[in-house]
């Protein structure tokens, strides 16, 4: 059943930016968007990836853009997908005070989203990938205990 699907949402946000300060409120917005679009039983986990200063660019200039990778059911109708993306954008702007050009939402169908994740992970290699993944998991768990949400960084531990 679609309503019991577990969605893992990845949010890239800047260090010292408003999004990470509001991470728990933003997670609530994201969960609310899923519930409104795909049913109250949709299970949602959010993973935050902190972007250190000076390591992200838009149009070749330093960027303040946050991005949200939020999978949706494969068979979602486009108007529903757009309503879902709008809900996340709106919640993000309300909570952080950012403008609409500072948040990007990507809502791929779950199968395509999974394929993207696999291709992205293929850039990791060897036994070091295993230990790196374990360190990331430990880092996220630590942040969950301390801050109340799962967080890692583009500077891997």
């Amino acid at each position: 059943m679609l309503s019991s699907t577990h969605y893992v949402v990845t949010c890239l946000a800047h260090a010292n930016g408003p999004a990470l300060d509001k991470a728990r409120a933003l997670e609530a917005c994201i969960r609310s968007a899923y519930a409104a679009s795909f049913g109250p039983r949709a299970r949602v986990s959010c993973v935050w990836v902190e972007i250190p200063a000076g390591t992200a660019f838009v149009a070749g200039q330093p960027s303040s853009l946050s991005s949200v990778m939020a999978p949706v059911p494969d068979d979602v109708a486009q108007p529903d997908r757009e309503a879902f993306m709008h809900a996340i954008c709106h919640g993000w702007m309300t909570e952080t005070g950012c403008n609409q050009s500072e948040v990007m939402v990507v809502a791929l169908g779950a199968t395509r989203h999974g394929a993207h994740t696999r291709v992205s992970r293929e850039r990791l290699g060897g036994t070091a990938a295993f230990t790196s993944t374990a360190r990331v998991a430990m880092q996220m768990a630590k942040h969950r205990l301390v801050d109340g949400f799962l967080k890692t960084s583009t500077r891997l531990p």
Binding site: G54, T55, V58, G125
Partner: protein
């Protein structure tokens, strides 16, 4: 979108990151016709890359472009990355993943399909 992810073990110097981001942006725009404001570049470090790789470039891009254009893009990006970082071309990994424009919202609006950017920008001048 596109979102280019540059992964290395050691962090690249700030000047190199900036130059690389600008060159990736320029090349992507020249070859695809996309506006520069669409092009995102993010640098990841301490990444355990596959054996033989010193740097990896992973692009998440809007689908709908020809294979020939994708090959040109790949070659130009790899040559630029090698020139900017002094990493041998053979030590750079590259992969790209096409996604549908209708799945991406930037500036509060769904992105246009490749080739429809001009009309889209005219309709959304604030984005």
């Amino acid at each position: 979108m596109p979102m280019y992810t540059v992964s290395t073990k050691q962090p690249l110097p700030p000047q190199t990151r900036e130059a690389l981001a600008q060159n990736i942006t320029r090349i992507h725009c020249e070859i695809t016709g996309a506006p520069a404001t669409f092009v995102n570049v993010v640098f990841w470090t301490n990444v355990p890359l596959p054996q033989g790789q010193m740097l990896n470039l992973f692009g998440t891009v809007r689908g709908g472009r020809s294979d020939q254009k994708k090959r040109r893009l790949r070659q130009a990006l790899l040559e630029s990355v090698a020139a900017n970082t002094a990493v041998d071309l053979g030590d750079i990994g590259y992969s790209a993943f096409d996604i549908s424009a209708k799945c991406v919202m930037e500036g509060g609006v769904v992105l246009p399909e490749p080739g429809e950017e001009e009309r889209w920008l005219a309709a959304h001048p604030d984005v």
